[in-house]
């Protein structure tokens, strides 16, 4: 009932906007020149705190400075990012409601749960602001020095080596599934409910490894609380030049990244998307932004729309296959 009211009100607004545009002959370009004429909402589909929220706030702050209007963060958590993403997918495509999306909202969550939106078709890509590669970590004095050690141990004792994750469908879980599939080993996946309990259990030696995203593990590695075994990026990370890549370790096809991107609802006028993307590209080159992103283990993106337009569908297909092969099911 509620949905219906909202729907019709939005429909009416669209009609009004259409009449307005037709009647006064305002072109999209002119509209974009005035954009943003009022504050813009950046929907973060997570609660406040955490990587996605933090990146959203950082980018929002820079967009506010660059475009001269407030970009306000609105946390709409829940449903494995589905609630926030749905809200943006169904919002008016006028550039005033944007999504801080990525790995969960635009690839894995719609595959695991029943989503009311299409993760590709219902959004207009603006640009990516970063990727977070996987870092395989273990406790400091663990017997696993290399990826080979982990694989050998897992082959010797199938279903005994345990890896933790922050939940089903998290990058940590997907990494574990992809790795065990490629290495041909069986390990136990121990899911946690977000938060940091899995890290405590790793340091407390109840877990053997975690295929962590670099955003979570970078401070821990630098503080010497956990030890990195390998990274999933194509080349070694500047922060950890001594840690080999998984490609070097014999798994060139492994690729699971957390990723963060800005989306508008589908059918947002192209001039607006272009304007946002151009601004985002500028932001991604700012030294302080690059430094802050690197500081939390995020590899800065370019902010280019066409890059994101190619990246996201590939991700979706990759995880569709992985989830099917690994027989991870929900609902």
């Amino acid at each position: 009932m509620n949905k219906a009211t909202f729907g019709s009100r939005r429909g009416f607004a669209k009609l009004l906007a259409a009449a307005f545009v037709a009647g006064f002959g305002i072109t999209g370009t002119a509209y974009a020149q005035n954009y943003p004429a009022k504050p813009v909402t950046l929907v973060v589909p997570y609660p406040a705190g955490g990587a996605n929220d933090m990146l959203g706030r950082l980018i929002g702050q820079k967009l506010s400075e660059g475009l001269g209007q407030q970009f306000i963060i609105e946390n709409k958590p829940g449903g494995g990012t589905l609630i926030g993403a749905t809200a943006v997918a169904k919002a008016a495509p006028d550039g005033y409601t944007l999504l801080v999306g990525g790995f969960a909202s635009n690839s894995v969550s719609p595959l695991l749960f029943k989503a009311d939106y299409d993760p590709i078709k219902d959004f207009e890509p603006i640009g990516m602001f970063g990727t977070a590669p996987t870092v395989v970590i273990t406790y400091p004095d663990s017997p696993y020095k290399t990826i080979k050690d982990v694989v050998e141990a897992a082959k010797k004792k199938p279903d005994q080596i345990m890896y933790g994750s922050s939940g089903n469908g998290s990058p940590l879980h997907m990494s574990g599934e992809m790795f065990t599939a490629q290495a041909g080993v069986k390990m136990v996946h121990v899911p946690y409910k977000g938060g940091s309990a899995h890290i405590l259990d790793l340091i407390g030696k109840r877990l053997d490894v975690i295929f962590d995203t670099s955003t979570n593990s970078t401070p821990l590695i630098k503080g010497g609380k956990v030890r990195p075994i390998a990274v999933s990026s194509k080349t070694r990370l500047p922060d950890f030049p001594d840690v080999p890549t998984l490609t070097e370790s014999g798994y060139p096809d492994f690729s699971v990244n957390g990723w963060y991107a800005l989306y508008a609802p589908a059918k947002t006028p192209k001039p607006i998307v272009d304007k946002l993307s151009a601004e985002l590209q500028k932001i991604m080159k700012m030294p302080d932004v690059v430094e802050k992103l690197r500081g939390v283990g995020v590899t800065p993106g370019t902010g280019k729309a066409d890059e994101l337009a190619a990246y996201a569908p590939a991700e979706l297909e990759k995880y569709r296959k992985l989830i099917k092969d690994a027989n991870i099911k929900a609902d």
Binding site: F113, K193, G195, I203, P219, A330
Partner: protein
């Protein structure tokens, strides 16, 4: 001594004039916003975060700490004045604090909460500075079996929270457990009892239930009475400050609460909340007149408030020693640090000692500011209660609705709270107390998650719960407590003591 030297570095930072000002500003903003029902520390900090980007990082963090404590204290204020617990730990405060308010002793309750918190905060700060490493080691001892056993113990203890019938308390615990089953199964990622509603996939928010059954239910019940009986609040206010006897009653309770809080606070997730519940149960057990609990016992405010605040203090320990955020508030603070260009993590202690110890000592400064700020404010808060009910209750409803909405910026939560309001009214009429329901609702899913994880990691071997010393001890205590509660002789005596005379 390292300990003293560290505190010295810290106070050098936090007692500078400018930082004291920010601590005060933070505590004031936190109190003002936190006192709006349902706006807890997280919403408050998230709201004020953008205004802090321009500040120097240390000052900003000190202000954040002030906001955090202010908002938390604001939550206790609403729990005491109008029976609106904004977070899990204030549910306990509401039990006796609200009863005190209705008896005209809101001032004493508020002052006790502030002073108890300050005392606990002082001890907590010293504990953080002196014993962070050993307490971190304690946190590591707690794996899934230990958490599961702790939750089990907590659930058994939940029954003690009620002052009425044992059977009704048990029924409420079970109902809480059932409501807690609405979520997504952690192990298999299957949504349970969500009926295809995306909002139910993460379960019902605790605040929604607490507001519905506590505040709204009470309001409906109040409106059901004839107008002349409706003004349940103060006709006469008997002193704004606690009496000598109050101090004598509440000091030992605050001390016990502080110890409990310091220990349990280290456990990520449920620490401070469990501490305040446990403190209440302990106080009720050791009290000379347990019958007063639930009727406005000052120990029931002092103990849990102290436990909660001490727990809030020591819950910073895992973050400080490991760089792991153990609660949403801390995650937000770490995010803020990052935005300000400080790389969070365990290395902050060595790379930026003045910031690190400044933050620790500023927690104490924040608590001090709260006392300075709130003791004079008590008079104003109490005045609020003399507002005629016909104006007060719509205001409470409106602010609660706003607060519930801000939980996840979703109207669904508001509708949910409305449903629980009706349920709360029914509970009120039938004499079912909501506190055990809340505890069952919070502990149930945590216990289930840890039970299943423990079994997953032990390859299905149930003996894991009794072969590990900590978990075995807690299970023994829980079983002992269960026997004590259910033994007919004791139970009979209990009924006599606890039966309500309303």
């Amino acid at each position: 001594m390292d300990f003293l030297h560290n505190l010295y570095i810290g106070f050098q930072t936090s007692l500078s004039l400018i930082n004291l000002w920010y601590a005060f500003l933070g505590a004031m903003l936190g109190t003002l916003i936190g006192v709006l029902p349902g706006l807890g520390p997280i919403a408050t900090i998230a709201m004020l975060l953008p205004s802090m980007y321009t500040l120097e990082p240390t000052s900003a963090l000190i202000m954040l700490a002030g906001i955090y404590y202010g908002a938390q204290y604001g939550g206790s204020t609403t729990a005491i004045l109008i029976n609106v617990p904004g977070e899990a730990s204030s549910v306990v405060t509401a039990l006796d604090g609200y009863k005190m308010a209705r008896k005209g002793r809101a001032g004493a309750a508020l002052a006790t909460a502030a002073l108890g918190s300050f005392f606990a905060g002082t001890i907590g700060t010293m504990v953080v500075a002196a014993f962070a490493p050993p307490l971190t080691a304690l946190a590591f001892e707690f794996g899934a079996p230990e958490y599961c056993a702790l939750m089990f113990l907590g659930l058994v203890g939940a029954v003690v929270l009620a002052s009425g019938s044992l059977a009704k308390a048990l029924a409420m615990v079970v109902l809480g457990l059932l409501l807690g089953q609405i979520n997504t199964d952690v192990i298999t990622a299957v949504p349970r009892f969500s009926f295809g509603i995306t909002e139910l996939m993460d379960g019902i928010n605790f605040v929604v239930i607490a507001m519905g059954v506590f505040s709204f239910g009470e309001i409906i019940a109040n409106l059901g009475k004839p107008a002349e009986h409706r003004d349940v609040f103060i006709k006469k206010v008997t002193g704004l400050m606690p009496t000598k006897q109050d101090f004598k009653d509440s000091a030992p309770a605050a001390l016990r609460g502080t110890i409990l809080g310091c220990l349990l606070g280290v456990l990520p997730g449920a620490g401070p909340m469990l501490a305040s519940f446990t403190s209440y149960s302990v106080e009720k057990k050791v009290a000379k007149n347990p019958g007063e609990f639930g009727q406005g016992a000052i120990q029931g405010v002092a103990g849990p408030e102290a436990a909660n605040n001490a727990g809030a203090q020591t819950s910073f320990i895992p973050m400080l020693t490991l760089g792991i955020p153990t609660s949403a508030v801390m995650a937000l603070m770490i995010g803020a640090m990052t935005l300000m260009g400080i790389q969070p993590g365990p290395q902050v202690m060595t790379t930026n000692p003045s910031l690190f110890w400044g933050l620790i000592t500023s927690m104490w400064v924040g608590n001090l500011m709260l006392v300075i700020l709130n003791l004079p404010l008590i008079g104003i808060w109490v005045k609020l209660l003399t507002v005629p009910y016909r104006f007060l209750f719509p205001a409470i409803m409106a602010f609660c609705a706003i607060g519930v909405y801000t939980l996840s910026n979703n109207t669904f939560d508001v509708y949910c709270a409305a449903a629980f309001a009706v349920l709360g009214f029914v509970f009120h009429k039938l004499g079912f107390e909501p506190a055990p329901l809340i505890l069952g609702f919070i502990l149930g899913p945590m216990m289930e998650e840890n039970l299943r994880r423990a079994l997953l990691m032990a390859h299905g071997d149930w003996s894991v719960f009794v072969t590990r010393p900590i978990s075995a001890t807690m299970i023994v205590v829980a079983v002992g407590l269960m026997i004590a509660i259910t033994l007919p002789a004791i139970s009979k005596k209990r009924e006599e003591v606890f039966v309500e005379d309303e």
